[in-house]
Amino acid sequence: MTLITAANLGQPDDVYAALLAAHRGLTADQQAALNARLILILMNHIGDPQVLGAALELAKETP
């Protein structure tokens, strides 16, 4: 598997709104904790160390 960087979400506006909604009403610390849990859940779902490595690289090289 390679990391998918082309558009892959059917309803990007809905998913983005759900992400924001999950953070609403939380303090900055709570938001950070939520994101940490989310990252771990998604990493497990992806499950492929190569894809995760490429995702980490993309995240790191993006200013």
Binding site: I39, L40, I41
Partner: protein, 514 residues
């Protein structure tokens, strides 16, 4: 009951009154590692002198968790069954977050091994058994003999040794520094550790009490009884329990050492005050090692060569694996069956083993004691998720317990044979018609020939009846196989159907250190 520390007698050494005879091997330090090496060498027919600055066994339980591999090594040394009989056998570890179990592991889920996954046994017992064994084998044990100087010569090292009756010199072809984490020999030689120090302190306490905790390892993250820090409980023989409590870096060890500070903390763990404090200590976390372990005629073994933070039981067990990798090679060099270059293989293999131990311990330390920021954020996220989602549980890291490492050997291999017995692995144990396979692989090269003839090439051959367990662990789907197994029970090479010259070449490679 508390342990009876009877001192061993100091006997004035010959070097005080006449020139000390030249020794083949001098071992500095009569801890578990130095003693184990002396016994291992004696089993190979090599005499050694052991110099220790003290005259009692370990004060305090110190290393308590002895792994299956260590028990197999101790068994070869002649004290494995004694340790097993005295120790508390366990194999299950449970990890709790607050009051809920979030992860557990079973370290030996299969039967058919002589030794269990782990026993808990105070270091002083292991030392006591090893001392008795060393004495029975005629090892020259010298108590109250403190090495104060080491000078390397061309083919030996010269030690200056201080005794209650004054100093003397001792020359040895090989000097083995088994003098622990604070190794004075390392300091005398101006050698430095490389690696990490963590800003974390733990209190360890041995308490004596009547209780019925199961024979398991229990680890808590943020338990209600210890205010957001970590705690560990282990059962030892003699109604002694080991409790480890995280203190954090902003504590004063001198204050925390006081019984009036410790006792209330322990009361909160066990829920009552009906116990006796037996021994306490405070330690900091380090994950560091020497760049190399062989320095001309001085060889570092155990904690003098590498230190890890605890919780993986990788200190004492790692040290015994050093002994395992060095003993047969050093014996061969001393007996001129191999060239000193063979010792480079000890250096390579155990630097590799130490790195694996350091990697595992530093990861566990980061989980247990995360720095502020992302480390803490993700640690807490893993713990929070572990209660809800199975995937997070294996990420909970309260220490990954010592396992023998798979050395990256280049010996012949046939990938059709089972992975768990490939070259570089310790040959898996299995029951034989009489006794155990591990008992038959001792001290010499062995050819294990399963369902095939063993060529007569001067190597001891073992041809047991192939039981289903032997077939499972050594054959897989293959009809037959031949294994070449080193004196330390590590598989050197294996084939399904080899020629005699292939086995001979693999044997030569072992003795040349390849």
């Amino acid at each position: 009951m508390a342990f009876d520390y009877s001192p061993y007698p100091y006997v004035p050494p010959p070097g005080l009154t006449a020139p000390e005879p030249r020794h083949k091997v001098a071992i500095i330090g009569a801890g578990p590692i130095g003693l184990a090496l002396a016994v291992e060498l004696a089993n190979h027919g090599v005499a050694s002198v052991v110099l220790d600055d003290n005259n009692v066994v370990s004060v305090g339980s110190r290393a308590i968790c002895w792994s299956k591999r260590s028990l197999e090594i101790l068994d070869r040394l002649g004290v494995g069954e004694t340790c097993l009989a005295k120790g508390v056998t366990w194999k299950v570890g449970r990890t709790f977050h607050r009051d809920k179990e979030v992860f557990n592991f079973d370290l030996l889920p299969e039967d058919g091994h002589k030794m269990p996954a782990f026993i808990n046994l105070q270091q002083y017992y292991v030392e006591e058994f090893l001392v008795a064994r060393a004495q029975a084998l005629g090892v020259d044990l010298r108590w109250k003999n403190k090495v104060t100087d080491v000078v390397q010569g061309a083919d030996h090292a010269r030690l200056t040794v201080q005794t209650p009756d004054g100093p003397y010199h001792l020359d040895a072809d090989w000097v083995i520094a088994c003098d622990g984490a604070r190794s004075p020999v390392r300091t005398m030689m101006g050698l430095e550790f490389d690696g990490e120090l963590f800003e974390e302190r733990f209190l360890i306490a041995d308490i004596e009490m009547q209780a019925d905790f199961p024979s398991e390892r229990w680890f808590w993250f943020e338990p209600g009884f210890h205010n957001g820090q970590s705690a560990l409980l282990h059962k030892q023989p003699d109604n002694i329990y080991r409790i480890d409590l995280q203190l954090g870096w902003n504590t004063d060890p001198e204050v925390e050492k006081q019984p009036e500070r410790i006792i209330p903390r322990i009361e909160k763990v066990v829920g009552h005050a009906n116990f006796k404090l037996d021994w306490t200590s405070i330690y900091t976390f380090q994950c560091r090692r020497l760049k190399k372990f062989v320095h001309d005629r001085v060889i570092f073994v155990g904690d003098s060569a590498h230190v890890v933070s605890p919780f993986g039981a990788r200190g004492g067990n790692g040290g015994l694996q050093d002994v395992d990798a060095l003993g047969w090679r050093l014996a061969a060099v001393v007996m001129q069956k191999a060239k000193p270059a063979l010792l480079a293989a000890y250096d390579q293999e155990r630097c590799f083993g130490a790195d694996e131990n350091l990697l595992n311990s530093s990861r566990a330390t980061r989980f247990m004691s995360p720095s502020e920021g992302a480390e803490r954020l993700f640690r807490d996220a893993v713990l929070a998720l572990a209660g809800k989602a199975a995937f997070a549980r294996p990420m909970v890291n309260s220490g990954r317990l010592s396992r023998p490492c798979a050395y990256p050997l280049t010996g012949a291999d046939d990938p059709a044979l089972p992975m768990s017995a490939r070259p570089g692995m310790v040959a898996p144990d299995a029951p034989l018609a009489q006794g155990w396979l591990s008992e038959s692989l001792r001290g010499q090269m062995v050819i294990l020939a399963l369902n095939c003839p063993a060529p007569q090439i001067g190597i001891t051959a073992l041809q047991p009846e192939v039981t289903p367990l032997l077939a499972q662990r050594y054959l897989g789907q293959a009809a037959q196989a031949l294994y070449l197994i080193r004196p330390d029970q590590v598989v050197a090479a294996r084939w399904i159907s080899p020629q005699a010259n292939q086995i001979q070449a693999a044997n030569r490679a072992v003795w040349e250190g390849h």
